[in-house]
């Protein structure tokens, strides 16, 4: 039984189609991140799940209950908004208890749940303040508190960290992740930030043009991207994408790449065609070991020191390459180096439609 089942969801505003036949199954207890660039329909999808907007087509089930036509209050959800949307005239306590009061929860239980949430989110000292007297991080915690006291079936987050500075964002990321583990609740989280998605999610649904491009655990999304778009969207620095050609040879189909004379095996059953070769920076090396020679005599253009690692930008015959190496192994600018690849970690995409071969 899935906690949330989306079937053929469509949504248009006038003649503008945002979602077109999207389907997704979300397991109970999952932390699912809807990831995508702005305008991909992820926030719209969240509004539809919340019931704040009506679907144009398709059905939404929570468990075995069809909630498509139910208003938000009957869906047993709680939501955290991007702007926090705290009620400005109410104290923190009243903000958090508002939803409980609206649904006639007994008074002593309200007090109990507020205490529990305040302790969990370290808000005990601020319960009688107004939102205007709180810092950004505290407001964010109140917004989360207002959601968790509801003990809802599904928790929805709409880019809740985008208004915080970098340090606070990292803290809150950890806090929300901890909260998810403590509550074991089903959470759906919208963001355009791939770092947030990768660090927090148990499942990532990467969206593009109102469709789900790939859905799976973050490791899968990162290590086994099914399309060129997915490969390029996640990872920082971005994946190296090289233009290459599949050619028929005496040893079977091989990848022909400018500046590369080693035989690179093409995926099985691939016909000769133009392809894009996706290689993550950490899968390129400056030492041979067990790796395959990819490019000879690439010139070091820039070395970026990032701490434990250094990111090295190379000018190679096949194009610009980016390599992540331990800082101690970093070459000097202007030096010429040979580049080796971990061939098993390469991804080959159809140059036309971007699908993985």
């Amino acid at each position: 039984m899935h906690a949330v089942t989306l079937r053929h969801i469509g949504k248009s505003f006038g003649s503008n189609t945002i979602l077109n036949g999207l389907s997704l199954d979300i397991e109970a207890g999952d932390f699912t991140v809807l990831l995508g660039s702005s305008g991909c329909g992820k926030s719209t999808l969240l509004s539809l799940i919340a019931g704040l907007d009506d679907v144009s087509a398709g059905r939404i089930h929570f468990g075995d209950r069809d909630v498509t036509d139910l208003p938000p209050k009957d869906r047993d959800i709680a939501m955290v908004f991007q702007s926090y949307a705290l009620y400005p005239t109410m104290s923190v306590r009243d903000n958090m208890s508002f939803g409980l009061r609206m649904t006639q929860v007994p008074k002593n239980e309200i007090a109990e749940r507020i205490d529990w949430a305040a302790k969990l989110l370290r808000l005990e000292d601020h319960l009688d303040r107004k939102p205007g007297q709180l810092s950004g991080g505290q407001r964010q915690r109140v917004a989360i508190g207002r959601a968790i006291v509801r003990k809802a079936k599904v928790y929805l987050f709409d880019e809740p960290l985008s208004n915080l500075d970098a340090k606070l964002r990292a803290e809150m990321r950890l806090e929300i992740k901890r909260l998810h583990q403590a509550l074991g609740a089903t959470m759906i989280y919208v963001t355009h930030d791939q770092v947030e998605a990768m660090t927090m999610a148990t499942k990532v649904a990467l969206m593009r043009n109102g469709q789900i491009e790939q859905y799976g655990p973050p490791e899968d999304i990162y290590n086994h991207p099914q399309t060129r778009y997915v490969a390029e969207f996640v990872g920082s620095p971005a994946v190296n994408m090289l233009d290459a050609q599949l050619v028929e040879g005496p040893l079977g189909t091989l990848i022909a790449l400018p500046g590369c004379d080693a035989p690179l095996a093409a995926p099985k059953n691939a016909a000769p065609q133009k392809v894009s070769l996706g290689i993550r920076p950490e899968h390129l090396h400056l030492k041979a070991d067990t790796h395959t020679l990819l490019q000879r005599q690439a010139q070091v253009e820039v070395v970026e020191f990032t701490g434990a690692d250094a990111v090295v930008w190379l000018h190679a015959p096949a194009g610009r390459l980016c390599i992540r190496v331990p800082s101690s192994d970093a070459p000097r600018t202007g030096e010429r180096v040979d580049v080796f690849v971990d061939a098993s970690a390469m991804a080959v995409f159809d140059a036309q439609d971007g699908q993985r071969l």
Binding site: K73, Q82, P88, T89, F98, R146, R150
Partner: protein, 289 residues
């Protein structure tokens, strides 16, 4: 150099204050004349020195204006009018503000189909002169048998105020981000609970603006009161006119001035009490604060 600059600044300041004082005196002159006249006994007025201070100031004129001045055969002063005005004012102000706020909230925060067109129609309503619909209104009230009653005058005040009140509140509520309404919807609140628990508590400034506008507007109304209130519910302004505009006999300036001052006092009190909030509220919509 610096010194001369400073001198010129002081001169400019003095000029400015001189102008402001002159303008203030100009505007306050009528009020001054009213005040001193109302405090003079009749003989002093007859001497004709309009600007002179009273030699023997007395509140007799006020007492008479309030309690014993005659309009026709009725010699109870304007105090019955004061009571009438209050009885008309309270329900008219409360209802027009409440209905205006609900209207504005519905138009701004519930984006139902046609909301913008309806708002445009209401804007047109603001510019329809009262005089145009006066006769039809009288006919309608006469038809349902309510012409010249408390209900008709209150209804007329509420109906004629509603477009402007609705627009005032719509503009205020439009500045409130709709994520607030969405959050409240998720929290299980409905149309009314969002209005009373979240929107109204945020509206103190605009409520005060509406209160001042409606209070002065309805209190100072003469025409509607004359036409719709009927014989039993003549507001203070109508009664004042009946006292002041006597066709024969001596004109009793001190009593007239006292009656006029008494009539003008309630809106003045409201202004003094809420002036600070009034200015703040008028600009509140513009700066979103």
């Amino acid at each position: 150099m610096n010194h001369r600059h400073k001198n010129r600044q002081i001169a400019a300041r003095l000029g400015l204050y001189a102008f402001l004082l002159a303008a203030g005196a100009f505007f306050l002159m009528p009020l001054y004349v009213m005040l001193v006249t109302s405090l003079k006994p009749a003989e002093e007025i007859r001497q004709g020195a309009m600007l002179a201070l009273p030699h023997a100031p007395t509140l007799d004129a006020f007492a008479e204006a309030w309690g014993s001045a005659c309009t026709g055969l009725d010699c109870r002063g304007i105090s019955p009018g004061f009571v009438n005005s209050l009885v008309i004012l309270v329900p008219s102000v409360v209802l027009s503000i409440l209905l205006g706020a609900i209207n504005g909230y519905a138009l701004a925060q519930w984006r139902f189909p046609g909301a913008d067109k309806l708002a445009a129609a209401i804007t047109v309503g603001v510019f329809i002169p009262v005089q145009v619909v006066m006769l039809p209104m009288v006919k309608i009230f006469a038809f349902v048998g309510l012409q010249g009653s408390l209900i008709s005058i209150v209804t007329v005040h509420v109906v004629f105020s509603l477009p402007f009140m609705a627009l005032l509140f719509r503009n205020f509520f439009a500045s409130i981000p709709d994520e607030l309404t969405r959050a409240a919807l998720v929290d299980g609140a409905g149309f009314w609970s969002i209005f009373f628990w979240i929107m109204l508590p945020m509206s103190t400034n605009v409520l005060l603006v509406a209160l001042v506008l409606q209070f002065t507007h309805i209190w100072n109304d003469y025409l509607l009161g004359l036409i719709f209130a009927g014989r039993d519910w003549k507001p203070m302004t109508v009664q004042l006119n009946n006292i002041v505009n006597v066709a024969e006999g001596e004109v009793r300036y001190n009593v007239n001035m006292a009656a006029t001052l008494l009539t003008a006092i309630p809106p003045l009190i409201v202004y003094f009490l809420s002036g600070k909030y009034f200015v703040r509220g008028v600009t509140a919509g513009a700066t979103k604060g």
